[in-house]
Symmetry: C2
Subunit: 359 residues, 2 copies
């Protein structure tokens, strides 16, 4: 039986992924020089398609790194000389915070209870941060942060560089880039591609700070924003990148553009609503995130208590693989991803299957 | 006509690369969790096969990064608090040096004339380097450094961490790992795989230095050697890695192990000899590296003068793609890679084709 992965990522591949990979091999994408005209065309095409899909303004640079974790590393190196501030609503937000600590920055944080968002009005940001980091969709807890709250903090701290990890919400999340300074994601989540590529989007304010930090030899080596930008304007990268990954991302973006991002967003909301409705009305299996406004549309955490094994097994018998909970909830929750390649019919199958669970 | 890439990398894919990629897709390698038992088995198998192929001792850790350029970055961060020394015999050695400068280290260098190796006896290393870096096979010039010279420097500076970039010589180069501290390569060269994976091999001495630098928050974030090692012993990675790349590298290593590394090395030398013999006896097209002992067996730089276009065109008509020269030799040299997947019949075709060149 063919397996369908509803895991938070790596996850189900985009339906045409295999075809795109075969095309890449036929077109020698893995053998051509990364500074050749042919690859520059691939690079440009991917960047154009992604810019269109996510509505990224022209004055925002798009950089191709190796993972979202690397994006965190390079953002801290290039955007904070001393102080950063982190909204920590789960394990991945905490990793961003720890990255800043490991890079010897004075990192401060506000911590939300697991499964909840922040009390933004009463959150104090005291360390005059140069950098303010959000995890807009926290993959460990299934909590989303309303983008309006992020813009609000940006307004309140105009001197800080403020941005968000959108690893498991892109391309669903409809960010107004003009109201933030940076965002990043990796391709093995909502884009349904093999892992090994992170995408970082930064504006001129970030570039300005990076130039200052580079002048002090604090911005890192080959992946400092200045070197990345010098190459990006030539449709090239500093090092030999994951060329196949860049090619595939372009193809998926093209396909999504032709399907329509609004349609993808609408369908994501419909599927999320079906799932939350079902679990809200379930006797035993309940959504972990209680407050509806805080519920992620793309990562749905469900409390299973001691039924986790049974639930996973029932779904596996239908070919459906869901994720376990994260960290301390590893054995008492499941996580169901709801990405563009997850079909409504398979969501129905999850609901039908779990409808027969005997408590 | 099918193209055959004799470029220095990205280059011709390993003959079974497409099959391995298809197997990976069939086995859901791009959808499984990177911390699952299934992926840990892939990781372990790749590491075991690579260790066998390159004869890497058990006390050397193998880390999977994203590129050879990243390896340079992480080596400097983890192995030098203040001073590094670089043997610069071309553009890639110079990039290693510049990486140290960008990371705010006091980097010193010895510079060889382009196309030549070093006068090791008379090279002064004055800055008490914690780290000494070689580019064993310089891809820009086609100069190789005799491994004995590297071991000699290591002997002379036992307190330094000494190692080599073997990006375009692996797996041909027969390194005695016990006589160096680290080495690294990327997979889009001699392993004939899609780019996006770098492999770093380090010993206990490097780990000790990294632990010291980590205690001072100087070793970097997620890819500091300590975090890399903590995950590697669990057959995992710090972040979601290039899982497909790790899988494919394992398959290529298995295939090479079954073919026999000695046979691969012998054939590499035979093909190199055929090429150098031909060009040594050619009226016009001459090897760039004059001293035979300094000539790379895997990257063969040929002076073409104003015939570069003609040479590349003649070969292209037979389906053979060679590289241009590097940097200032971009338009006056060609580079011919001689990796394990380059067949002797195709080497003969290069020789036959260029034998008809009208001067």
């Amino acid at each position: 039986m063919k397996k369908i992965f509803f895991t938070p990522g790596p996850t189900e591949l985009f339906p045409e992924a295999r075809k795109f990979i075969e095309n890449a091999l036929d077109e020698n994408i893995c053998s051509i020089n990364h500074r050749s005209k042919e690859f520059m065309d691939v690079y440009r095409s991917t960047t154009d398609s992604l810019r269109l899909l996510l509505n990224i303004p022209e004055n925002y640079s798009i950089f191709y790194l190796s993972s979202a974790t690397e994006c965190m590393d390079r953002i801290v190196q290039n955007c904070a000389e001393k102080n950063s501030f982190h909204f920590v609503n789960g394990a991945f937000a905490d990793r961003f915070y720890k990255t800043a600590v490991e890079l010897n920055r004075n990192a401060a944080k506000a911590v939300a209870d697991y499964g909840k968002s922040f009390d933004f009005k009463n959150t104090e940001i005291k360390n005059s941060p140069e950098l303010i980091c959000f995890t807009q969709n926290e993959t460990s807890t299934g909590v989303q942060i309303n983008t309006g709250e992020i813009y609000g903090i940006k307004n309140k701290f105009p001197q800080s560089l403020t941005g968000a990890d959108i690893v498991t919400s892109a391309p669903y999340v409809d960010l107004d880039f003009a109201k933030i300074d940076f965002a990043f994601f990796s391709v093995q989540k909502g884009f349904g591609l093999p892992s090994g590529l992170g995408v970082l989007i930064v504006n001129d304010n970030c570039m300005e700070k990076a130039a200052y930090l580079k002048s002090k030899n604090m911005a890192g080596s080959y992946h400092n924003f200045i070197s990345l930008h010098e190459n990006a304007v030539k449709y090239q990268t500093t090092e030999t990148p994951n060329m196949l990954g860049i090619y595939l991302l372009g193809k998926v973006c093209e396909s999504m553009n032709s399907y329509g991002i609004e349609r993808i967003r609408k369908e994501t909301e419909e599927k999320a609503e079906m799932l939350y409705d079902f679990f809200d009305n379930h006797e035993y299996l309940k959504p972990f995130v209680k407050n509806k406004a805080d519920r992620s549309k793309t990562i749905i955490n469900i409390k299973t208590g001691d039924k986790q094994n049974e639930v996973k097994k029932m779904l596996a018998e239908k070919g459906i693989v869901v994720g376990s909970g994260y960290g301390k909830f590893k054995d008492t929750q499941i996580r169901i991803a709801n990405f563009p390649m997850h079909r409504i019919d398979d969501v129905r199958k999850i609901i039908e299957t779990l409808g027969t669970l005997n408590i």
